[in-house]
Symmetry: D2
Subunit: 338 residues, 4 copies
């Protein structure tokens, strides 16, 4: 029996990738596309690449109708919009993987300060599980509501967590220098995302003020058992998909060997199918259209440098969402993701 999947907010890039990946999933099937547009498009009219792949017309966001058609919902709405619909969906008994930021930050005050909006669903926030399977698989398996992590926070957490756990790096002074392809900024056209403005360009943005910084800190603090602070510096890359993070950390003790760093990484990911610990430098190209996160490390100039590469649309969004779904339904977490 297939898991029946609904997607709320089906006209953005994360939904597009969910539909593509789920079309290959042996035990899941997209049955309902729920849009709040007035003119409800056929999904292949919206995304011509889905012609012959997904033959569904969008329908209204009607929780009871969705509950009849589906077992799980991927909510691909932007933050604030998501928490307006998620409670109704949960009430019907549906499981929910929410790809927005609405259920990621456990500290409501922090959420409200960072996202500049009131949290409208504190009840469900309290029971939401942060959906990073490599760290929280046990909780995800039992969850009704999974908050799918942000793209940048996924790579940062996978790169840094093992070293914090192993007590190799200091919890302060961590610099996460990151670069992302343009799909990470969504599908709505904007002046700074207009083709000629991005192409042949490269620039930092929101350094020190990006909303993913507190999310990274929350995860690493949970892992380290002490307060972790990072300086997060994102850059916009002239590519479609992919994130590379180059993360600079101070060793706890004056000197640490590269071997010790690799030991920590390899031990952490020995049984993780989607994290590849690599000797060579990662390249976003090597993980494009895969659910892998590649990590590598160097000890140089008195710092520990960790590199983490992922596809922001897959391990950084839709692939990880499916990985979470697999866990929530007791399936092998790799199903449909190879």
């Amino acid at each position: 029996m297939s898991i029946r999947v609904a997607i709320v907010g089906p006209t953005g890039y994360t939904a597009l990738h969910l539909i593509k990946w789920l079309a290959r999933h042996p035990k899941a099937e997209v049955t309902y596309l729920a849009s709040h547009r007035e003119q409800l498009p056929h999904i292949a009219g919206e995304f011509p690449e889905l012609l012959g792949v997904c033959d569904l017309a969008c329908q209204p966001i009607d929780a009871p109708a969705i509950a009849k058609a589906a077992d799980v919902v991927f909510c691909c709405l932007p933050h604030a919009a998501a928490m307006a619909y998620v409670p109704k969906l949960l009430d019907t008994g549906l499981k929910v993987v929410d790809l927005s930021a609405d259920y990621r930050l456990t500290d409501v005050d922090l959420y409200e300060r960072v996202y500049q909006t009131q949290h409208a669903d504190r009840g469900n926030l309290a029971q939401a599980v942060y959906g990073l399977p490599e760290l929280f698989a046990d909780q995800i398996k039992k969850a009704k509501l999974v908050a799918n992590p942000g793209c940048y926070p996924t790579a940062a957490a996978l790169g840094v967590a093992p070293l914090l756990k192993a007590g190799l790096v200091k919890p302060t002074g961590i610099v996460v220098n990151a670069a992302s392809g343009v799909t990470g900024a969504g599908r709505s056209p904007k002046p700074n995302l207009h083709y000629p403005e991005v192409n042949e360009g490269f620039s930092p943005y929101n350094v020190g003020g990006h909303r993913h910084q507190p999310e990274i800190e929350q995860t690493l603090t949970a892992v380290a058992g002490q307060d972790v602070r990072v300086l997060f510096a994102p850059h916009l890359l002239p590519i479609n998909q992919g994130i590379l993070e180059t993360i600079y950390m101070d060793p706890v003790h004056g000197a640490v060997s590269e071997e010790a760093v690799y030991d920590a990484l390899e031990e952490a990911y020995a049984d993780e199918p989607f994290v590849r610990v690599r000797a060579g430098f990662p390249n976003v190209k090597h993980v494009t259209d895969t659910n892998f996160c590649d990590v590598a490390a160097r000890v140089t100039g008195g710092k520990i440098v960790v590199f983490a590469a992922e596809d922001n649309m897959v391990k950084g969004a839709s692939g990880q969402a499916i990985q979470n779904m697999n866990l929530m339904f007791g399936l092998d977490e790799t199903l449909g993701l190879t």
Copy 2:
């Protein structure tokens, strides 16, 4: 003494390129930037690349004020908006190079059908000169109002005109297969010009229905002295600047030699500084950021194939506009363009 230059509509890509090129022009100086925005930006606030290059704040579009500050106006407004301002500018005695389509088509009915708007300035239309210097330099020198050609029509005319003049090709059945970089579509963000939609893509658009088709036909008809018809098929290229046209024509007589075709091209452009007749295949790369149009030809498969490459922002727009200005003011046409 420098020519004092005003630019109306200074916040688009053609204006940006005018400002960059004019900053290097030894006998011209931008003195006035006229915008219809409510909030008038400093031009380096709008285009950070112009910091230290052009230190002008935008001002209102005020014809008398412009006439005091300038000798010539480059009008970079979109069609329909242009013809609302050009008459007032001409009335003050200013010379005008209009980069919109409003004064290109001499047949008013055709203009109105193609651009779906009434022509509001028939008087000046009658005296406007089509600003393709390689074909109409004598008239341009005497013109008060020059209609700067479209980007695609420039390459098409330069590629085909010599062969029509030499009587080598049939005036019908001409196929202009064209591809352009994205700056040709302007600076306003649109869904189809959003970075991830263009990058790694390539597609035709408006085949048989593009507004540049009648403009191409008008020029070639004038040159040939008989009715010329073309099938114009534009494509969108994932690059910033550049146009390549691959043009298929039937020889008038069953057979024609490549040598005869090259003779016609070389004769036409022997004294033209901006058209390079090349033995090898043109590449848009070779003309990027230059005012050159490269042309080459092959005779194969019973057809004459001409290739023409230009930078849509330079020879296809702002560079050609400066070339026209040079001619209108009695200067060497290459001034500031090398």
Copy 3:
């Protein structure tokens, strides 16, 4: 039971894509990678993206050893090299899908003239089947040796064949204006394929002299039952994967309706899972990393214009090779390709 697959020449782009797609195929498994390199690499050393996807070290090209390990061979060697190995592979009883040009042209003299080398395996050439499933599925099902079509010829044949069959277009004067991403030129670095030489460029190459021109003509001649001649004009696109062909044809009768053209296309492809007849213009983006070929048509300027888009690495190479394998082994031709 899985089909056991060997790949000869595993370090090029077509092999990379075969390995990626076969990793998802439910009834096939790569068991042997045969390379003629002296230093035999592990495939994930050669292609880091295959780490965790394919855990095979390359082995020598040893026909008996391959025959023990595999049921079918994909030969990814360049032309001339392929026909040195294919006979030995066939002799062991293996089925072979050859991705080179060595078995595509049935006229040996033509092959030798076009590829400037003697044909070394005329015996098997005579029994080879041209592997374009939409046209020759019945023969492919029974074939021991399939010559996988060239990338450009696949799109050209799929776009033009239905119109020739329907008697709508003239067999002469056909212009195939084509553009391909860079993977089509292989994995060996060359000056003209160096990143800065391709990026932001676009140019024609080998117009009238490309080796795929006779291959296109052979297929269309077979389909039309009369001699078909095309003018083939390829261009190099600054993208990785994708081909778009814009094909200009003269209607047999003075006038033809767009509807009649679409009727012919839709009839031809009603039951073909991998050809999508589209109303809108195709875009290479819509077929990237899929085995689809998208076709559309316009009647304009006295011509029939057909557009065909495919991924040169998938429907134009490795995907089609798997489609052929599926047919040769009696499987559903879409298996592993969705």
Copy 4:
């Protein structure tokens, strides 16, 4: 009177940019192109974009002949090759701007360790001046031999030097996270620079081991008057031209204001025509094809973060070389560079 310029090693990218920029220089003229190739090409055969721009055939590297034809030489050979020719050129009385690394590092032992070759011209090394005009203009004016800085070191020095001079940042623990376009790696095709390998990719390389690291340290040490150590982490960007460096530093005193950092930058560059201190984030796009270096700063997360953007081919190579030539000949340093 024009400065007569020779270029040794005219077939690489730095030479191409020198020729393009010098074609616009009002007081300099390229008179001699000296190549060590056996087949000496016409420069427009080698670079079709130079057709109609530079009409010179390459000649042998013959010091006396060069001395007759030129006043100054730009040496564009790779390291090791450069120092084989520079002594002979200097002996004829020619001034030399060397774009290789051979005369950059004043510590011979360090040079030999880093470049893994013996230094063959210690005599001239001792008198060479490091050609970063914003720091060493006085010495450059009197120099016979200028070592043109590396691309990465130029941006790093311009971004960091003012803060070290102002005593705001610690001399250790400096992290230079850098990204460069592909022209920085030269014009020779290599597997890792093949178009499909770079396009849609992004990766670090040589982290902690790049040859520009000691060059950066040398300049900053000279400026600071104390030993400065950096961790240099370069990345390869899928663009043609441009470098962005994001530089993380620890403040000397616990806290420093962003205002103090900007004061230091603005004071340092108040009279420097080619460094633009910007409030907004730099983008490589804003400096492409210009000799500008844009710098900006943030104080966040306990660090001072400086951003520096330049075109690696202009301020990072050929433009800076011309700036140096201007100074060596007593001209305004901006001549030909606007």
